[in-house]
């Protein structure tokens, strides 16, 4: 054996070891990041569970016209402003006739949500002929009650489960439960209502629709502009000092902190153009400024990836430059461009900082109907709920994060689908 082979053989074991060590490091790094992700997902999902449950209490309400404070044949306006909370309180008193003291009565009334009166109102508006009768209906329970009955099976023996309900209140709940007057089901309100200060009435819909409007505006503004810019820079622009400067600036723009775009939006769109505050229109424009560089950069990469042979073949057959680009290069680059766009939009979806400056960090109850209605966005809703004193909002916060993540997963799935469906390999 020659001496070189000897040297190699001597070092072989060490080199194999180094390699297996490196593989181990890699696996450790991946498992650490995966476990962080798993921890985050599991803890958020776990915390969000109570938010998807809604508890209702069955009560027999006496819809006497006199008690409601409406006449014998009331008009819609009278029905709308009738004394529903009085009727519900009366029903609770009837259920528990022994409750006499003022403080105890107050505790009793707090078992049912303040939303129950609107529920009762809608019930009567649907069919005003029920006035004057006695009805047994299910009414939304208070968030504390919901939190407790979803956490423990026996409310009289709760161990150290934190709750603000007194022993007396838990006794009442127990009585109701034994008479099958408490039921817990899926919380549809969460997906059909706007924000509320009562956790049991708060929903994600206004923020979800708000985010959708914002993204629509962002897409409509940023996609055409970014694609046009990318095509010009990639296919038509001469290479000189000017295009270099533009290129550097686009790359820099991608790294600008998003709050800066919010300040720009405030100064230009609200103060100068006098567009309305809190509207998805401005939110969308501001976020599209933020998304533009991302789309431009990925579109240019996608255009560059189309092989020159396609261009040459088209030109060889007599196509003009514009025809080459729009008939051949752009359609082939489209999957890449769309993927880049969706990733840019996904980034915009998670953004709160610029929205703060333009008034979209707001309490919105009504579902926005157009891009100029006041609206808020999903991450803003997460922020607002996390800062609310009522404890049930902790679960709502996590549930809103789950919805936001779901939205993101859907968007990324669309990106993956588009790429798989239209991608060409050469």
């Amino acid at each position: 054996m020659s001496s070189t082979t000897e040297i190699v053989q001597a070092s072989l074991a060490r080199r194999y070891k180094a390699e297996s060590r490196f593989r181990l490091y890699g696996i450790v790094a991946i498992s650490i990041s995966l476990s962080f992700l798993a921890f985050l997902l599991i803890s958020i999902t776990y915390k969000s569970i109570p938010a998807f449950y809604e508890t209702q209490v069955q009560l027999t309400v006496n819809l006497d016209a006199e008690k409601l404070g409406v006449g014998a044949s009331p008009d819609i306006k009278a029905i709308k402003t009738a004394n529903y909370s009085g009727v519900i309180k009366g029903a609770l008193r009837e259920q528990f006739p022994d409750v006499k003291k003022r403080k105890a009565k107050k505790e009793l009334y707090s078992l049912v949500s303040v939303g129950a009166q609107y529920q009762l109102r809608d019930f009567i508006l649907e069919d005003p002929s029920v006035i004057g009768t006695e009805q047994t209906i299910w009414l939304i329970a208070d968030d504390e009650l919901n939190g407790l009955v979803t956490a423990v099976s026996d409310v009289t023996d709760i161990g150290d489960t934190p709750t603000r309900l007194s022993e007396q209140q838990r006794g009442w709940i127990n009585t109701l439960q034994q008479q099958d007057q408490v039921k817990t089901g899926f919380n549809y309100t969460f997906f059909s209502a706007g924000d509320s200060r009562e956790p049991e009435l708060a929903g994600i819909k206004a923020a979800l629709i708000g985010s959708a409007w914002v993204l629509l505006v962002t897409f409509l503004v940023s996609f055409p502009v970014a694609v046009a810019a990318a095509i010009y820079l990639e296919e038509f622009a001469p290479t000189n000092r000017w295009t270099d400067v533009i290129e550097v600036n686009i790359n820099n723009l991608a790294a600008v902190p998003s709050i800066v775009f919010g300040l720009l939006g405030l100064a230009v769109f609200i103060n100068f153009f006098a567009l309305p505050r809190s509207a998805p229109l401005i939110g969308g424009i501001v976020l599209s400024l933020m998304t533009l560089p991302t789309i431009i950069i990925s579109s240019r990469a996608a255009l560059k990836a189309v092989p020159p042979s396609i261009r040459e073949a088209a030109q060889g057959l007599g196509a003009s430059k514009v025809q080459v680009v729009f008939h051949h290069v752009l359609p082939l680059a489209m999957p890449g461009i769309l993927t880049g766009t969706i990733i840019g939009l996904a980034q915009a979806l998670g953004e709160t900082a610029p929205l703060l400056m333009i008034g979209m960090v707001a309490f919105i109850v009504d579902i926005p109907q157009s891009i100029v209605d006041p609206a808020t966005a999903l991450p803003v809703q997460v922020f607002l709920w996390s800062d609310s004193p009522e404890r049930a909002f902790v679960a709502k916060t996590s549930a809103a994060i789950v919805v936001l993540l779901g939205f993101l997963v859907v968007m990324n799935a669309v990106a993956v689908f588009l790429r798989k469906r239209f991608e060409r390999r050469w």
Binding site: K80, S196, P276, S278, G359, S370, P389, R391
Partner: protein, 345 residues
């Protein structure tokens, strides 16, 4: 496809800008302390009337005033909430910009709680203790009219009657209105108990403010972020620490944290309402009178806010943790709001 897309987006934007001129919902900005109360009123207002639900932004008292005083017109807010009274400078700014008729409403009080975990002993403090424990510079413990950098490490050092616990207070950062109020009410209140400092107020106001309003930065006071829920969670995990946050958070977490006794009173509903609890502040909102009639529903919103069912003693705002005004104050304020009396300073 490309052309269609471009023309589509242009059309959509043009369509969108058509109804920009009018606004049919009330726009409210201002204090994050009043935010949880104003939102309850707004939500109820939206549900029981045919008007749209007002939009409420939480911009902070100062930020709200700035937007409010920017001028008239639908692109400016109609109402601003504030956890302090409007300043003369802000009022003047309003006047210069054409906002000449402002209706002021004092709606109630908010207490700031100093609390620790239920698992540990309740503390009995004075504002002087709080000042000595938390100020950056304190009067020399050896006596005399000079100040030294805060030497106190434990509560026992501050006041021999207090337990031998390291000073560790979790509170809001300087950007928070709660912090401003705490500094003004608790720290300055304790600071003034020293005669030589009190005399300084007249001779050198800036030095007085600097001394009374500056919180120590050596780690005894921990800035725990704007989120009061987070402070409550941290107190639960660390029974030796004290926390500073709004009364509504204390009430919502009464099974986890307890209020310290400040100068004989716990932060509870009655003590704050009677004015006995020393660390409480007034809550206001201001209305642009010139917008009434232009933006629909402002008058009805005021009626809802000032109804007994809302800000009364048993109203829903009290359930949310706002401390209502006394009966006399309330009826006087209600009359002045209903009469839309313009504010003059």
């Amino acid at each position: 496809m490309f052309n269609r897309l471009a023309s589509c987006s242009c059309a959509a934007l043009m369509l969108a800008s058509a109804p920009l001129m009018a606004r049919d919902n009330i726009s409210i900005v201002g204090s994050s302390t009043v935010f949880p109360f104003a939102t309850v009123v707004a939500e109820r207002f939206g549900k029981i009337t045919d008007f749209k639900t007002p939009t409420i932004e939480s911009t902070g008292s100062g930020g709200g005033m700035k937007l409010f005083c920017k001028g008239l017109g639908v692109d400016t807010p109609d109402v601003t909430n504030s956890s302090r009274r409007i300043k003369k400078s802000e009022f003047d700014q309003c006047q210069t910009n054409g906002v000449t008729d402002i209706v002021e409403a004092l709606i109630g009080y908010d207490g700031i709680a100093v609390a620790n975990s239920n698992k540990s002993e309740q503390l009995t403090l004075t504002r002087k203790d709080l000042f000595l424990a938390l100020a950056k510079d304190v009067p020399d413990p050896a006596g005399g009219d000079s100040t030294v950098a805060n030497p106190y490490k434990t509560w026992k050092d501050v006041n021999p009657e207090l337990p031998d616990l390291a000073i560790e207070v979790l509170g809001p950062p300087p950007t928070s209105g709660t912090r401003d109020a705490f500094v003004e009410l608790a720290m300055e209140g304790g600071c003034k108990t020293f005669d030589f400092i009190k005399a300084m107020k007249n001779s050198d106001k800036n030095a007085y403010k600097g001394l009374c309003h500056t919180i120590r930065e050596d780690g005894a006071y921990v800035e725990a972020g704007e989120n009061d829920n987070l402070i409550v969670q941290k107190l639960e995990a660390n029974p030796d620490a004290l926390g500073i946050f709004g009364f509504s958070f204390l009430e919502q977490n009464s099974d986890k944290v307890q209020s310290s006794v400040i100068e004989g009173f716990e932060a509870d509903f009655d003590a704050i309402a009677d004015g006995d609890y020393p660390i409480s502040r007034p809550l206001y909102f201001y209305v642009k009178k010139q917008h009434i009639g232009t933006v629909p529903g402002i008058k009805e919103y005021l009626d809802e806010f000032t109804s007994d069912g809302a800000w009364g003693e048993d109203g829903y705002l009290a359930d949310k943790g706002m401390i209502p005004l006394s009966d006399d104050e309330r009826s006087a304020m209600s009359a002045s709001v209903k009469g839309l009396e313009s504010l003059s300073l």
